[in-house]
């Protein structure tokens, strides 16, 4: 036996005994096992029984000829490659074509040449082995792919459980996110804050696949955890940035826009780090204001270099904010051109009905892409609504009403170094919601705390005048002054005093906020029913609707709010 390491099983079918015996002798001398039959019918039967590696078929045979036998054998072989070599002295092209059409892979002409036959057997055996190898690898790839898809499905479920607990289904939100967006690195999270405003973050992680998906998990869990507890947008931004900076490898980061939409004030606060311009679409005039990215993406800078300054915009009810990842602008048509910002602007320019802009954009991009679905589109539209219109999704109701903190009081005094760096509201809210009955009122409590704290700090300690806030320019001036005075503040305090008692089936919280300021003429302003509405910027009318009573004490530097809750709430 020559170099052939493994003997092959070779089926020979020929009705001419002389030829068959010569062929048998040649093949056997090569060390192969020979199965020898006299016609096509026997060849098919022998093939099924013996599963030979290579088949040598005479073309013209009684009963079933070589063409018919080849067809049946190829069919039986299925995905397996069984080389069929036709033994023939047929020389006309037409007959050779018939051999090929029947599934023949090659010819061996008579008189048989030993060297040529050896070469063909070797060549076809190599081809057969390669085919087997390819099939094994193909099956491995298929099984790896199945495995990967299964893992992705599980990962997506985990991600959905974390990311989609928010309020993306609220009536003022429209969004488009690929079904496998988590593996494109796109993420949209949205939640209602205790104050009733809506916080939304659109993120686009660099890269694709698992590395891009991994960062989305801590982002979503920090976001939801903190929004629910009443942390401010800036705190959330810093936390997410710091966390991503910690866990993501160099070069992986998250372009993001985050917006806090305040329905009761008709304002938004927005921060854009690395995403394309967000668009603010005015429903009245049809004008579009782009909101540029003025920051680096999340996860790039460490906390001390991170910039958290936000832009403020007023929005009328019906005005819409659009945020998107670069997928839209970078969508390519069959010619390879990018969709680009100009086309996007044209959609807005051509729009007549503001409610259709979202669909117009989606249709325009799909049309541009030539009807092909592009899975990289992430787009969200937020419409300014009347306060109270937005359903924030399920709230966290505690089943055990009386198991928490019931009768308690505490005092907390904040001093200048704390004002500058620390937002006490989440801390205070966290303490208050330890009373199970107050938990369902966390939104109202947050609003009350937030208004009273900002009054005490801004008007009391810092002595800012709310008059400034009447005009948009004054508004900016107000915040500038606020920052300046905070930075240079040397003394001053804001003290919270909280006292909670059981009252009937429910309870009563007495909240006192005292500032070190000089107070104000509350008797002629706040307490005077005729002027109540006019004394702007202090949110007092709003607080009155949320609590049992509110009164200013002394010079006006102390305010007391009584908040009652009923066990039947």
């Amino acid at each position: 036996m020559s170099q052939q390491a493994k003997p092959l099983k070779i089926l020979i079918a020929d009705d001419t005994e002389t030829d068959r015996r010569i062929l048998e002798a040649i093949v056997r001398r090569e060390g192969h096992e020979v199965i020898s039959v006299c016609d096509g019918q026997e060849a098919v039967t022998a093939y099924e029984r013996e599963q030979p590696d290579i088949v040598l078929l005479d073309a013209l045979m009684p009963r079933l000829d070589g063409f018919g036998a080849a067809r049946q054998i190829k069919e039986l072989a299925g995905e397996e490659l069984v080389p069929i070599i036709f033994l023939t002295s047929l020389s006309d092209t037409e007959s050779l074509v018939r051999c090929l059409e029947a599934g023949g892979d090659d010819f061996l002409s008579k008189p048989y040449n030993r060297v040529i036959l050896q070469a063909k057997i070797k060549a076809f055996n190599r081809m057969r082995e390669m085919h087997q190898e390819v099939q094994i690898q193909r099956d491995q790839i298929a099984s790896h792919n199945d495995h990967l898809m299964q893992e992705q499905t599980v990962a997506k479920q985990v991600f959905d459980n974390i990311a989609h607990t928010g309020c993306l289904d609220a009536s003022n939100v429209k969004y488009l996110l690929s079904p496998l967006a988590v593996f494109n690195g796109d993420v949209i999270v949205a939640a209602i804050r205790p104050s009733g405003s809506m916080m939304v973050l659109l993120g686009d992680f660099t890269g694709h696949g698992l590395p891009a998906a991994i960062g989305a998990m801590p982002l979503a869990s920090s976001f939801y955890g903190m929004v629910q507890k009443g942390f401010s947008m800036v705190d959330i931004l810093r936390e997410v940035n710091q966390k991503l900076k910690q866990i993501l490898p160099i070069g992986v980061f998250c372009c993001a826009s985050i917006v806090d939409m305040n329905f009761s004030k008709g304002k938004i606060r927005i921060w854009n780090g690395g995403l394309p311009d967000c668009y603010l679409h005015r429903s009245g005039t049809g004008e579009v204001e782009p909101i540029r990215s003025t920051h680096l993406p999340l996860g790039v800078l460490d906390d001390s270099s991170f910039k958290d300054d936000c832009l403020h915009f007023e929005m009328e009810v019906g005005d819409r904010l659009y945020m998107w990842s670069d997928g839209i602008i970078e969508t390519r048509n069959p010619k390879g051109e990018m969709y680009g910002e100009e086309r996007l602007q044209q959609v807005f320019a051509g729009n007549k009905v503001p409610g259709q802009v979202f669909d117009d954009i989606v249709n325009s991009v799909h049309e541009f892409a030539g009807g092909e679905r592009d899975d990289d589109l992430s787009l969200i539209e937020l419409t300014m609504a009347e306060p109270g219109q937005i359903d924030g999704g399920p709230r966290d109701y505690s089943p055990q009403r009386h198991s928490g903190m019931m009768e308690w009081s505490m005092d907390l005094e904040l001093q200048p170094s704390t004002f500058r760096l620390f937002d006490p509201l989440p801390l205070l809210l966290n303490i208050l919601v330890e009373v199970p009955g107050l938990r369902t009122h966390s939104g109202s409590l947050y609003t009350i705390l937030a208004e009273l704290y900002s009054n005490a700090l801004e008007h009391g300690v810092l002595g800012l005048s709310s008059e400034l806030k009447h005009t948009p320019e004054g508004f900016a001036e107000y915040y500038q002054q606020r920052q300046q005075r905070l930075d240079t503040l040397e003394e001053g305090t804001v003290a919270f005093s909280m006292d909670h008692r059981v009252l009937g089936d429910g309870g009563e919280l007495i909240l006192k906020v005292t500032d070190s300021g000089t107070g104000f003429d509350h008797q002629n302003n706040i307490d005077n029913p005729h002027k109540r509405v006019g004394y702007s910027g202090r949110g007092i009318p709003l607080i009155r609707t949320l609590c049992h009573s509110l009164r200013y004490i002394g010079t006006g530097n102390q305010v007391e709010v009584v908040f009652r809750w009923d066990g039947d709430d």
Partner: protein
């Protein structure tokens, strides 16, 4: 003049077939002796397809034994049967008979 049997082919066969060589020669001769009268019968019956097949088969086996002139004559019969042109086939069959006699003599002595 061409040799009736190519001795190199025969030598190669002898090497490959070893002890089976004589057996192979006898098989060929027996087979051919049966087929030669068949060719005449099929010609007489104008059975083109049968004639073609018999000639085809004999062409193949004679070529395998190195009997190239015989194989060539068989090819002519096969070709004419295929074309349904039987005139002249009778003459070729006579040549085949004569050629086979030569082949047979050579093979028997090899």
């Amino acid at each position: 003049m061409t040799q009736s049997v190519d001795t190199e082919t025969l030598a190669m066969l002898k090497e490959v077939m070893e002890d089976d060589f004589n057996n192979l020669i006898n098989t060929f001769l027996d087979d051919a002796r049966q087929r030669l009268p068949l060719l005449r019968e099929q010609l007489a019956a104008s059975d083109y397809e049968a004639l073609r097949r018999t000639a085809h088969s004999l062409k193949g086996s004679s070529s395998n034994l190195g009997a190239m002139p015989l194989s060539e004559l068989c090819f002519q019969v096969e070709h004419r049967a295929n074309e349904h042109q039987l005139s002249g086939v009778e003459g070729i069959l006579q040549e085949i008979d004569a050629e086979f006699q030569q082949v047979s003599d050579i093979l028997s002595q090899f």
